[in-house]
Symmetry: D2
Subunit: 178 residues, 4 copies
């Protein structure tokens, strides 16, 4: 079994918005998952990344596709606090669940390091088994993204999802062993 | 067998551009087909419809998806002749095959009547068996179009295409009997 | 007296649209004049130049500012005839006067040569005495254009326009002697 | 003497960015002044108002035109603090001076009340004597704004500015008597 076939390790989130309770990747198995990693003061996220993620949330059935925002602050930490983020999500009408990536020992937050993100906006696309199938940085084509998502939805119907190995190596806030 | 399951009747095209020889729907069976019906002097076609059709042509494998332009002139006929269209395609860098819809007895050309198009731009999406699965008029979402196309590509692999009934009722320039 | 202070020589126009009679620069003296040189199949003209010229026509008083379109066809001549242009102006809702630049002995039409235009879209801005004060090629900033026009309108009120020397050297279709 | 001819009362600003020292309207007399009232989490400000104000700052001579940003927070106060604003200005490359409108006894800050602003983005345009000549709310035409500014610059050269009456009624943080 290859590493590439393992599910993406869990995110480390301190606080959630737009969801009544925390969300883990495990409970999203069976759905295609789009992770939008952003910072609220990143112009490319505001102009391109977040509107496109919201459009995915508005276009696809929530039975098939889950959109998760990850606020991965790696600069201006004091400027992008939870209270600022909450107002931002309200003003920009972001309605999908958004989690705050947990601060680690360095400037870069925990999940951002774990996933090896280059910056914001970054989009990660996971198949119904939680395996990473696409990783985009910067501005991307809506036509192409729509095709990537629909291709995953069509190719792997829920009933054919591989059973999740619950005993797979865990991640904690200092790293992941996979 | 339902009408909805029959392939779209053939187009009536007088002259082609961007292709060494005429194209018929029959030879596209096995591929998803996007038909972009446009007029070269229609602002919505120039601003939205044609750039999106060109993007589909540039994004998807030509093994899976064929884009066909149809110049369906129903107004200002003397202004949108073949020689004008040829220059237009050159200047706007349209590289997919484009056919001129045959003029009929009325202002509206033959194929446009046959397909019941409301105006331009119109997009028709056919599955691998040539059956119409979506009909859009006006501006459409690239994300959604990408999803529709990829969904067709993924759901119906070439080998599963239903055999075409070559003896199905023919269309001529005055109409179709299906 | 310097050449730069002489009025721009007359245009050579074969046919006009959106005006009941031919227009000459002389009768526009006392107004700021914006000349938009374009080709109906030039994508930059359609996307940027013409909408901006129309916006000038819609924004400024016609007592102060005159917008003149000049169809300067230097390629695909058979594709951009008068009948095609007329339909184009109708479909794109161009309402300012547009003249067809007279064909000369070469591919480039007469006025285009006379004014030394590099291509389309080109914008020429004349003060109230008909003297060229700005020459733009390609996409330009609406903010800056608005400032240029208003600056001319404010600086040279109609009553201060210098008398026109009617005996100044004439232009004919083969050139100008100034 | 009419009220409309009186200079706009002073702003009340607690903290400045992009300027080595506080700025008062008095020291801007002789220049056209554009005041951009915004909130950093207002989508219309980010998409339209601030880019246009920055373009004015980049286009006109700083001898002729001064652009002043005013952070007029009337909602989500805890989300749009000075530290958040500072990072915002850095990320969005805003280079003109920006002052934080002083909080008053109500939700609406002091200067915003004093000027009677309806919301954000608002643009106020002052002539060289500090008199309000235009008040825009929402999205505005760059062509028209360029014309308004240049018209003021051209009509009232610095030497013709009326002497400022230093003894005119003062404003304090609870209001203005004019």
């Amino acid at each position: 079994m290859q590493d590439a076939q393992l599910p993406l390790p869990n995110w480390s989130v301190d606080q959630w918005f737009n969801t009544p309770k925390p969300i883990s990747p495990l409970e999203l198995h069976g759905k295609v998952v789009l992770i939008e990693a952003f910072q609220m003061l990143c112009p490319g996220c505001v102009a391109h990344g977040l509107p496109l993620a919201q459009q995915v949330h508005d276009t696809f059935s929530h039975e098939d596709v889950a959109v998760i925002g990850l606020h991965t602050v790696f600069e201006h930490h004091a400027a992008m606090t939870a209270v600022s983020l909450e107002a931002f999500l309200h003003e920009y009408r972001i309605t999908f669940p958004v989690g705050i990536d947990a601060p680690g020992g360095s400037t870069t937050p925990v999940t951002m390091q774990r996933y090896g993100l280059r910056g914001t906006p970054s989009m990660l696309l996971l198949d119904q088994a939680g395996v990473l199938v696409a990783h985009h940085f910067g501005q991307i084509s809506p036509l192409k993204l729509g095709a990537e998502i629909a291709s995953l939805v069509a190719k792997a119907p829920p009933q054919s999802v591989a059973p999740i190995n619950e005993s797979r190596p865990a991640c904690d806030d200092t790293g992941c062993t996979i």
